[in-house]
């Protein structure tokens, strides 16, 4: 018997709303299969399983908001027979990890959830006009008219009893802002940051990249961002104190470099989903993963693992034009690397001042885990890596 629980998809998440099951009882699952889509404050996330098995029962109705840790489904382990293990029905929310408040009751969301995208809820013309007068969103009201249409009575009923009316639509932008505020406040409250910066000449990296891209179609070209991500991952080999997480008062280094990539969203806000095992990825594979990640982040179809296990974050504000960035660590990680834009600058080379492409790399790191001396050595290694991009 395998209990599939709602994972925490980031330090700032303590509940999520099940939007959709991607499996049904009887389905055989392999590691990494997407089981469900869960709405967090930041995005709709595809939640994966890390255990093999066969789906026995789905315990949560789509539309329900549940705390992290709630058993969402039961799987049969490979070879296990149905009913062999005691059942834990109905789904009980597990206690929130380290949460001060008791777990909120699992309340089904009222029937008045918005229909899935593409489905249009009928609203009578009169109801729509009345709703506009009253400042109510008629698309979120339960409809009692023909074919479930929202009628003028439904609108006036909702206006008359706002307390009993369905919850207002969550404002995604506001929710995300709250989530970012919580994570960043926690970071600045708990993490003693130190900051280092290092200008790095980029002529060799640019030349290497230009040669690599020269014979490629536009769609197959590698971006400098991928080169930088790879350099960070390779440079981290000698600096385990920068790649890991600080949890419950102790540092846990990570063997894999799971690099969170800060991606700004078009509607505002940002997410920092991760690419796993960057240290082992060839540049082409890394570029493909990066492109896919950005695309899915903006489409709102990220996977749970991408949120839950980054071990370091890279933020690149170069395309906005800034010279350098002093980023804030995303807890429970302990370091974040920033890149400004690659720009032509006066640079001393062989005793002469020349114009050269330069990027300023910055490191913000957790002083509880390591010291500035090691951080400086890391930036030096990063600089060397970027000047020898061909090295494995």
């Amino acid at each position: 018997m395998i209990e599939f629980r709602l994972p925490s998809l980031g330090a700032d998440m303590d509940e999520g709303k099940l939007l959709e099951w991607k499996v049904k009882p009887g389905d055989a699952l392999r590691k990494g299969d997407v089981v469900a889509v869960v709405d967090t404050t930041k995005a709709a996330v595809e939640v994966e399983t890390w255990q093999e098995g066969v789906v026995e029962a789905l315990l949560v109705e789509p539309g329900t908001t549940i705390p992290v840790g709630t058993v969402m489904a039961r799987f049969l382990a490979p070879g296990e027979k149905p009913g062999a293990a005691p059942l834990t029905e109905p789904a009980r929310p597990a206690p929130l990890p380290a949460a001060a408040a008791p777990a909120p009751p699992v309340a089904p969301v009222p029937a008045a959830v918005p229909p899935p995208a593409g489905e249009r809820r009928p609203v009578s013309p009169a109801a729509r006009r009345r709703a506009r007068e009253l400042g109510i969103d008629p698309d979120r009201l339960p409809g009692t008219g023909p074919h479930g249409a929202v009628t003028i009575d439904d609108v006036e009923r909702a206006a008359a009893s706002p307390a009993k009316g369905p919850a207002p639509a969550p404002d995604r932008a506001a929710e995300m802002r709250k989530a970012i505020a919580a994570a960043m406040s926690r970071s600045k409250r708990e993490i003693p940051h130190y900051y280092l910066a290092e200008p790095i000449p980029m002529r060799r990296a640019q030349a290497w990249l230009a040669e690599l891209n020269a014979t490629r179609p536009i769609t197959g070209r590698i971006l400098m961002a991928a080169v930088q991500l790879r350099a960070v991952a390779l440079a981290l080999r000698g600096f385990p104190e920068l790649n890991g997480t600080w949890q419950e008062g102790a540092y846990r280094p990570s063997a894999d470099v799971n690099t969170g990539v800060a991606i700004s969203l078009r509607q505002g806000g940002l997410v920092a989903p991760g690419i796993r095992g960057v240290q082992g990825l060839a540049i082409d594979e890394l570029m493909a993963r990066l492109a896919d990640l950005v695309k899915r982040a903006r489409a709102g179809t990220l996977r749970s693992s991408e949120f839950s296990d980054p071990t370091i974050t890279v933020t690149n504000l170069g395309d906005t034009g800034v010279e350098s960035t002093y980023p804030v660590i995303y807890p429970p990680q302990v370091a974040i690397v920033g890149f400004g834009r690659v720009a032509q600058r006066p640079w001393v080379e062989d005793g002469a001042v020349v114009a050269a492409p330069v990027v300023v790399a910055t490191l913000a790191a957790d002083h509880r885990v390591g010291d500035g001396h090691r951080g400086a050595a890391f930036l030096a290694e990063l600089s060397r890596r970027l000047q020898h991009p061909e090295e494995p």
Partner: protein, 321 residues
């Protein structure tokens, strides 16, 4: 004074004949036989053969004669026995009576009144059960009235005779034995009328469907739906002001039409509600019409083919569920 719809029609005719020497009645069997539906019974004896004239069985001829008499200064009341036979003088009605004022540059009006019985419900089979009021209501130049009450049966003829242009009066044999109080000395032929006030749905009907609509409203009231019944009365020009005022209040409408649904008067009402009251509607406009078949002869099939109170009730409830 309690009288029947038939007696009210006869009273209207008698008053018209007595009140104006230019008025005369002509049609098949209106004199010696007293009218196919006994509407003109006794009028020949009272007003003589010059004022109450039996005609040959040629609708084209005697409707044309009526139009000529109207052009000549008379006030003819032409009875086409039923709407089913009005297809024969259709050319006279549509191409002459309705249009002559236009064709003569306003020099000639045709103040003819053409009465005809219409509708089904009396087991007269497919050829004698048509409802073509909607067809005539299509034609500019005609005024179409449909008395559904004792007062209108009595008063609409006088109002029609006062019109300088052709008026078609549709009479409903299904209502001829309906009795009621005569309350009004005269009526207009320009406005629709609210026959029963209500708040939750508007039932728009005319002619023989008005009593069915009122019966439906009674049933609906027992089920918590307070329905308003609007009697169109005048099918052309439509008094949409009254209909719109009602629907804007109730926000729901059932249009009842004894004619076939396709291309019907109910289609016109429904379209205008959409055009002029779309944002007031809380449900799509519903319709109850004649089934799109020739009206069957067997009683149960005929009833099934026509609008009935139960169908109106079901349609009105459908606006809420």
């Amino acid at each position: 004074m309690t009288i029947t719809y038939r007696e009210a029609l006869r009273m209207g005719l008698r008053e018209a004949l007595a009140g104006d020497p230019r008025v005369f009645l002509m049609g098949e069997d209106v004199g010696r036989y007293g009218g196919t539906y006994a509407v003109s019974k006794g009028l020949l004896e009272e007003f003589g053969p010059e004022r109450v004239r039996d005609t040959p069985l040629s609708e084209l001829a005697f409707v044309g004669a009526g139009i000529g008499a109207a052009l000549g200064g008379m006030k003819p009341v032409v009875e086409v026995m039923t709407v089913n036979f009005s297809l024969l003088p259709l050319d006279q009605i549509v191409n002459t009576a309705a249009i002559l004022r236009h064709m003569s540059g306003g020099q000639f009006g045709v103040p003819v009144v053409i009465r005809m019985a219409t509708g089904a419900g009396r087991q007269l089979a497919a050829q004698h059960s048509h409802s073509f009021e909607g067809w005539y209501a299509h034609v500019p130049g005609l005024r179409i009235v449909a008395p559904a009450t004792i007062d209108d049966a009595h008063g609409m003829l006088g109002a029609a005779l006062a019109s300088p242009d052709p008026v078609l009066v549709f009479e409903y044999p299904a209502l001829f034995d309906m009795a009621g109080d005569l309350a009004a000395a005269s009526v207009d032929i320009s406005r629709a009328a609210v026959r029963r006030p209500g708040t939750r749905a508007t039932i728009v009907a005319y002619g023989a469907c008005v009593p069915k609509a009122l019966a439906a409203a009674e049933t609906l009231a027992g089920e918590g739906i307070n329905a308003e019944v609007v009697d169109l009365r005048v099918l052309r020009p439509l008094d949409m002001g009254t209909v719109l005022a009602s629907v804007r209040k109730t926000r729901r409408a059932v249009v009842v039409d004894e004619g076939w649904r396709s291309g019907s008067l109910s289609a016109e009402i429904s379209a205008r509600l959409m055009e002029e009251a779309f944002y007031d509607l809380d449900a799509p406009v519903a319709r109850v019409c004649r089934e799109e078949v020739p009206v069957p002869y067997p009683k149960h099939l005929e009833e099934a083919a026509l609008p009935q109170a139960a169908k109106i009730v079901a349609a009105a409830k459908g606006l809420f569920q």
